[in-house]
């Protein structure tokens, strides 16, 4: 069992080939699961690989071949629940596939944003990049990535692009479901706080709210809809307006959790009980939504699942047969996928106060 390599150093493809009495090309075939290897040969090679605890070196595979086995994740705010979920989903899927996730935090408004992105992709040569909001909507970032010919998947972008793949959830239906939940509890005056106007998610969630009211024959009252900005502070401000109105809503649905928490804070200041005096619902299932009292009814964004799908798309695009598979045209169309969400009913929503019920 005398091998030629130094005792401390790791086994290489040459060591495996020598011990298995085959060429390194055959070892390569086995580790890449390529066809055209006799079953017993394959088995013998695998046995030696296990014996030697052989692990192919990423840098060598990357330099010689067309793949780097690296997926990049570009994000802006690491403390955001969205990014945490995405990262978790992406790392798990990467591990299953023998890939690794390289993360890079870039400031949305950095002057040298394009240089930062370029430096990353040209040094690392990742097989693909995943972009989270707001970077997936940043023209500078997208331009730099196009120039580098790096495949990308955008997660919940403001709008779908013809040349960039994307994965998102169904905001319209989710918002509709939450609104229906409130209606089912008996609410008739339901306030709605819109998100930042430049994001398509804002429009879609508003649409869902409107649809639910319409399908239940409830009137669409303008003063019940306030323009927020997806921030805690904007939630507070909108809540003040809604609470100050003569005919106060018995429920408020904010387009995200940050704003919903702002609403809860304002309710607390006014000594309004939640959900006794007013029910509150959010959107995102942020970590904080579970920690506040009462815990928030919200929508769980399938961030992990979105990331898994994104990694899957990126890896699939690598395969040599990827484009030929469905006859060229069809397969090369930029994919835009939608994944399922989940409503999370907690204790911040309940029946409307009796005195106010119609």
């Amino acid at each position: 069992m005398a091998t030629s390599r130094a005792p401390g150093s790791a086994a290489t493809i040459t060591d495996v080939a020598a011990l298995a009495k085959v060429s390194i090309k055959t070892v390569s075939r086995v580790m890449n699961n390529e066809p055209g290897v006799r079953a017993d040969t394959r088995e013998a090679v695998m046995k030696v690989m296990a014996e030697l605890n052989y692990r192919p070196k990423l840098s060598a595979r990357s330099l010689a071949g067309a793949r780097s086995f690296l997926i990049g994740l570009l994000y802006f705010d690491p403390s955001a629940a969205f990014v945490a979920g995405v990262q978790q989903g992406a790392t798990l899927r990467c591990r299953e596939a023998g890939y690794h996730l390289v993360v890079e935090s870039v400031s949305d408004d950095a002057k040298d944003l394009d240089a930062q992105v370029d430096r990353m992709v040209s040094a690392l040569r990742p097989d693909g990049m995943i972009l989270t909001p707001p970077l997936c909507d940043n023209p500078t970032v997208l331009k730099a990535l196009r120039a580098a010919h790096t495949p990308c998947v955008l997660l919940s972008p403001k709008k779908d692009l013809d040349d960039m793949a994307s994965v998102r959830m169904d905001d319209v239906h989710a918002a509709e479901e939450i609104t229906r939940h409130l209606i089912a509890l008996g609410h008739r005056r339901i306030g709605f706080i819109k998100g930042a106007p430049d994001q398509i998610a804002s429009t879609r969630r508003h649409q869902g709210y409107l649809r639910a009211l319409k399908s239940h024959g409830l009137p669409l009252e303008k003063e019940l809809v306030q323009q927020g900005a997806f921030t805690y502070d904007s939630g507070v401000e909108c809540a003040q307006r809604l609470f100050d109105s003569d005919d106060r809503p018995t429920a408020i649905f904010a387009s995200n959790d940050d704003m919903a928490l702002g609403v809860m804070a304002e309710a607390g200041r006014r000594r309004l009980a939640v959900p006794g005096d007013v029910s509150i619902a959010g959107f995102d299932d942020s970590p904080a939504s579970r920690l506040v009292w009462p815990p928030l009814t919200t929508v769980r964004q399938p961030t992990g699942e979105m990331a898994r799908v994104a990694v899957e798309m990126l890896i699939a695009a690598q395969r040599p047969d990827a484009n030929a598979a469905e006859g060229g045209e069809a397969a090369s169309r930029t994919p835009h996928r939608v994944v399922a969400h989940e409503i999370v009913v907690r204790e911040s929503t309940g029946k409307p106060p009796k005195a106010r019920r119609r």
Copy 2:
């Protein structure tokens, strides 16, 4: 300006050398900032590198040399504020140094934990690994990393190891400061909720609390100290016990924010005003601590700074002169560094209720 390379492909060291009329070795020297290159030669090479938009390929450098320019971050719970801060600090420092951060999420209790770690380090060959709690205290993980001879820095480990570098904050002083803040507000009966018993941070924070009481001549009353577990639920339970006591504390200092939020929830259930009836302080400056009402007084763990220092230590260990520098012995001692924290006073702490003030 006719170069020999294909129009679409990126420039290589050979392209640069040809255009600058030097050998590739000289180009290598320039890009690695090595001495022994005439100033005008260096300048000429740099000019060509800029012209060609040359970016050395990581996989080639890694395969040929002793460095991979990759730092690994091993973590367990991606939604934890601690990890988010660490990741942010690490990516920024990595970028400055031309390194990249590869993240890997592993379950603390996975059966194949050692295999997962081994697969990562032997494929990637990172120049160093950063471990966050609870993984930095996991014997299986540490053993696998030792076996792979991968340099590590542990962030806030339960206890310092002789052969593993670490970075942590000063828990004793931070807890002492928070307690002093409460004493300065006029509190005399201050409840304390301990963290999980197996973590040294729990002991240290408790120490800080005791020190502050002692230095102000306040009695150490046993019933004011409750054993928690760093979880929200344990915070709720400890709060119940503290609130149920005959002589209720006017302030409660929980060893982390999760528990402090549990205390706030319990106060809310009992209709106790915060800070009117009871002041509450936490530890961690988690995102939720800012979002609840009232926002929580807490300690900001310098997570980003800890990570920056960790990356710095890992990169410094790479330098060939690292061990020779201070005369061997001294320089090779395993470093354990402590970085500065910050007290964040928000609205959850105030003066004690007059009726109860002594």
